[in-house]
Assembly symmetry: C2
Homo-oligomer: 332 residues x 2
């Protein structure tokens, strides 16, 4: 009655196989070992149902094959999708993920970063809007969507090109007079790039445009007021609208319905995000799709290649356009 309830250790395997401790370690780690020894050890492992204790491994090697993901929540579709794809990318490399859902609360974020430090994670991937987060010098950190300073790589989708693409699409689809709608703290700069790209696209195509930008707390009704102002004799003067997120597009679609505007016949709408409803069924609206899976892969790749010659400060991944029923196009 030695250790019937605690899990078997290498020592147990060694005793069972009648070999030394070091030999078992070598077999487990795939180092060269004499064939008969190897067989006996493997049989003992089978018999005892032995599994290495990665905590002991981590203690020794100070590499834990675990990374922490800091994310505001797992519920918004874009975040949910990010979590999913990062998890996959890690699993492929036999890495584990410590999930840290922060609610964008600075206290929670810091608490989680400390936790991560205690757990000696090999690195952190973080999507946070907190500019003055204290990150340990030694811990590899990759930021998503938001630059955290020059020493930290940031992976994001090409927001500028996305805005531009939206403008070009609307122009291609026959629009003459379009609007840009946005809500969100002006501190965050990524939406600003969407806006800049959109303006750029409109100018290069000679597309007339107007903008309506709300701050974070503002009521959506202001958009309705804005649109109502642009209706004459029941007809909206815009024939195209670019919304800074799919979420906003969804709200605007409802507003347009209330205002008796048909989509896409009277006015076409393009959003930004590209995360589909209900897993992977269909888009809410025509949209600029962020390459979530590529973003995930890039983050993990960058994080794990420790001996990187240089750390790229900002990596923009290409976006694409997807039809979702709110623009004039063939249904497929």
């Amino acid at each position: 009655m030695k250790k019937e309830l605690s899990a078997p250790t290498m020592k147990d395997v060694a005793r069972e196989a009648g070999v030394a401790l070091g030999t078992v370690s070598k077999v487990v780690n795939g180092l060269p070992v004499g064939e008969p020894y190897k067989r006996r050890v493997e049989e003992a492992i089978q018999k005892l149902n032995y599994q290495v204790n990665s905590y002991a491994q981590g203690l020794k090697a100070s590499r834990t094959h675990t990374i922490a993901l800091l994310i505001p929540n797992t519920v918004e579709p874009f975040f949910a999708s990010l979590v999913y794809h990062i998890n996959l990318a890690l699993l492929r490399r036999k890495y584990r993920m410590l999930l840290c859902s922060t609610d964008s609360d600075p206290g929670m974020e810091q608490e989680y970063i400390d936790m991560a430090r205690q757990n000696k994670v090999d690195g952190i991937i973080g999507l946070t809007y907190n500019p003055n987060l204290k990150i340990e010098e030694g811990t590899p950190f990759i930021a998503i969507d938001r630059s955290m300073g020059p020493k930290i790589s940031c992976v994001t989708s090409d927001n500028f090109a996305g805005g531009q693409l939206a403008a070009e699409k609307l122009a291609d689809l026959g629009c003459k007079n379009v609007a840009f709608l946005r809500i969100g703290s002006s501190l965050t700069n990524e939406p600003n790039k969407r806006k800049a790209g959109f303006e750029n696209g409109c100018l290069s195509r000679g597309l007339h445009y107007e903008m309506k930008i709300l701050n974070d707390g503002d009521p959506y009704e202001e958009f309705e007021a804005f649109l109502t102002e642009h209706i004459q004799d029941g007809k909206l003067s815009f024939d195209g609208i670019f919304c800074v997120t799919d979420h906003l597009a969804y709200e605007i679609l409802k507003t347009l319905r209330r205002l008796n505007q048909r989509v896409p016949e009277d006015v076409q709408v393009i959003g930004f995000d590209g995360t589909r409803h209900f897993g992977s069924l269909e888009y809410t609206c025509s949209t600029i799709v962020q390459p979530v899976s590529e973003i995930a892969e890039m983050c993990v790749e960058l994080l794990l290649q420790e001996n990187a010659p240089v750390k790229p400060p900002l990596i923009c991944l290409p976006v694409s356009y997807a039809y979702g029923g709110t623009t004039l196009e063939e249904r497929n």
Copy 2:
């Protein structure tokens, strides 16, 4: 130049504070220590920015304050919400979460369970449809939504009561002839309970009902055919429909629109799930809401109370009804 890049250890703190190793340990763990010593140790901790290494702790105590969550994916709203709330419940108790997104793939599931074992997690919360998963005897395991055998507690929402509630609501709202629509493997028994509860509710209210149940691979078109069969002179014979999930309800709403049936004027629709779109804005449809946050809390609570006198085999949490625009009710 001893250890300028590796993190400081208790030994470093002890040297800095001029006390013994054990004293530092006691301060860190809140054990009684003389006030002046305590102060010096705390100052040293501050100065060196020391953090305990929870891997070393775990190795010693064989308790790691980490649990693993096995879940098909993080993208479907119900799952996403579950992940979010379980994460919160764990954080409150200073526990960490190892996220294991499995795609319902038995291979991945087993791989993750092994990983979890290697990591010596303190327990596993799992939502899996794989009945013959090999779970270590010693590891505490809580199942969500699906019974994994008599020795493992299962937490779920009260699906039977939910079905019943849907029937009663439809009756209350004036329905006379209703339909139950379901898609999904008949092996899973929770949807069966929704069905049984619904039938029960219909019978007790004298509500006439029909059922249409599809298997997993079947095309949605069969629902459309079913509904079309029940249209005479443009009028659907059903005035109420209960869909087994919000997801299905969403599809059915589109179908009804194609068939020129107005919702809720001609026919009222109730779904099941209650996870809202876009984080927390609004429901897709009127629905039976699962108490996700309570489910999460219950799982964590059960998992962590190790000295439980008895393990309840099945715990059903109460559901509620929420208006979502597809039933005849006041907008609020």
